[in-house]
Symmetry: C2
Subunit: 393 residues, 2 copies
């Protein structure tokens, strides 16, 4: 996987006309640059430079005690080991290549491409202060965003497996749940399944799964509580698993029938249908070349036009090694999203579509699907939810 | 623990004459600022500001979907929730406090205080570009280093428990090991113990434990291999456990007797005695007010004076929530250590002491002890190794 992705990186450097891509890190076990997930599996303790050139040369400059493990990866053409300090080897290497542009690992807009800490940036600038290269640093955000976003077949396969496992667990949850159980009961059931499969959750266990039952819950990003499932509740779950380093991120919605109900009340059915419609409309609009804000707008308008409040977040984000995999987002033009609403959708990217709406007195309807962008549209990564799951127990 | 440490932070702000301490982060599940371990247990998705003032006010400004979980922590006097963007709330809050100095979360010398990414730094500077506060940012490294370093009684208790568990596992390893086993066999035995105790290792499992047997091994920071333990080998292990968020980091050394040996050969015994002597000399030299380079020099000189090569790394680092816990180091004046050799040792800090030396033809002798700095010296956190562990099997 590392060899495949570093080879892909060389193509991207040529596409974007970048001579060298320098990823500058230290103590990666503590502060982990997400870009390293494609560049080097070994932990790097001291100041370390991972350098890829447009000619295809892959070089690592690392502290002496790290060099054996880095060589062992087989990724690098050259591993330079230093004892006292990296400055001489690093500046010497760059001078020998004499690049016009050096992309370095920071980004304002994409946190997944922003692994360079400010302290490390100051150190790097200082090393190059008396050289012509100090003015040649640019952000590597476009390089890394393209590399993260454009999934290889191997990556897609892993993402599909993670999504399938998630759907399978949701099917078991449907059989398991009954009124009277707490949100925590449901979360525990899911975590046990994950643990038995020998997997990890896609993000912190404290909120993965998130389980929300009934009206007036805490909103997203809050852990399961002791609140009991009551008949008449809408319940939703947000959850995903990590399998072979790739994750899923999917939401599903259930309704618990009251004793005298044969089917969910009209308001719940309508809420579900509108939400489903907004997802299908968004999915139909996705294709390479569109901007994320256009897709967000399709779902947001659909929901508002049907009489519901707009969702207070983005429609969807990319998924890959991380549940929030960075760069282009399906999001509105809000300050907090910076340049991301305007980024173009590309073939091979994987996005979530996850609108939400509230049905008064019952709870929140939310579905989160994952889609992969194809040449002229998109495909679901796994079976989508097309009917409200109704529970009688 | 969070309340205890944030209260300690207020005292430190007053000690260092800092008006506000601002920790600026986003997507903390992906890029985790180590300083958050003392400030906020909740995951923060969008741009978020954790602000502590010298008057004792603790404020969080976070995205709307994160605010319930942040309020739930009970740490903050005020949680400000935003939807579109943080800029207005953040600049408004700072203006209302009108501070002379704002410490922010970056550091050149201490990676454990360098959680602000360069992209986030640029964003922050931009928010304040038309205000008088843009010139009032300073590094929070001294604040956070003091907070990390000065362990409370509760923290010390946890560190001692982690060290004790590590020593207990080492005792079981001594009973278990025999010639013919591989480094991987030994590592697996240790990882099973850790797993049975429901604990995690202190750092990546791939190199925790590290196991090195015999001469010409890969050096530190390399995972266990299929190399077999032979009689006449010196074997060393580097390992630690995380218990209740606090870790240990300790090394031990064994010798495997040859069939005809009653005791280790003279060269091995001498190597062990010299190494032990260097640790005891360093421990005797530690006290508040000394600089780390002085202590490193004591051990380094001791080893060189006894005819061995100096170790190619620092003598010791701090331990706490992380195995490499940042700031002051017991290290030589090498470029890669920046200002750290000159930092002063303080009461309540916990350091490792971990020299190494090679005994030709047998392997590497290395012991790593943990000590806590007291008012006028230091104490071992757990039982130190004072005799070479000799195995006949």
């Amino acid at each position: 996987m590392y060899k495949e992705k570093t080879a892909q990186a060389v193509d991207i450097l040529n596409e974007f006309d970048i001579d060298l891509w320098l990823t500058f890190v230290r103590e990666t076990h503590t502060i982990h640059d997400p870009g390293l997930d494609f560049l080097c599996p070994a932990s790097l303790t001291w100041q370390s430079a991972i350098i890829i050139s447009r000619s295809g040369e892959k070089t690592a400059i690392v502290g002496n005690l790290d060099s054996a493990a880095v060589e062992e990866t087989g990724i690098f053409d050259k591993v330079i080991s230093y004892k006292s300090g990296i400055a001489e080897d690093l500046t010497g290497y760059i001078e020998s290549k004499n690049p016009d542009t050096i992309a370095i690992n920071y980004s304002k807009d994409n946190e997944m491409a922003d692994g360079l800490t400010h302290g490390m940036y100051l150190i790097l600038k200082n090393y190059f202060k008396d050289t012509p290269y100090a003015d040649k640093f640019v952000s590597s955000e476009h390089v890394l965003s393209a590399l993260r976003g454009r999934k290889t077949d191997k990556e897609l396969k892993r993402l599909k497996i993670a999504a399938k496992i998630t759907n399978d667990i949701y099917a078991e949850v449907t059989d398991y749940m009954e009124a009277g159980m707490t949100e925590k009961d449901v979360a525990e059931f899911i975590l046990n399944k994950v643990s038995k499969l020998g997997l990890e959750t896609s993000w912190d266990k404290a909120t993965c799964p998130s389980v929300f039952t009934g009206p007036d819950t805490a909103g997203a990003h809050f852990g399961p509580t002791d609140r009991k499932i009551e008949r008449g509740h809408i319940l939703n779950i947000d959850f995903g698993v990590k399998k072979d380093d790739y994750v899923s991120d999917m939401q599903r919605t259930w309704y618990f029938l009251k004793k005298d109900e044969k089917e969910p009340p009209g308001s719940v059915k309508k809420g579900f249908e509108v939400l489903l419609g907004s997802i299908q409309a968004a999915a139909a609009a996705i294709k390479p070349g569109k901007e994320g804000r256009e897709i967000d707008g399709v779902a947001r308008d659909y929901i508002v036009e049907h009489g519901y409040d707009e969702y207070p977040h983005a429609l969807g984000h990319q998924v890959g090694r991380a549940a929030h995999d960075g760069a282009a987002l399906l999001c509105p033009e809000w300050e907090r999203y910076g340049e991301r609403p305007y980024m173009k959708i590309e073939e091979g990217q994987v996005y979530t579509i996850e609108p939400r709406l509230t049905v008064k007195g019952h709870g929140v309807v939310t579905i989160e699907e994952e889609v992969v962008v194809t040449k002229d549209g998109c495909e679901y990564l796994s079976e989508p939810q097309t009917e409200l799951y109704v529970i009688k127990k």
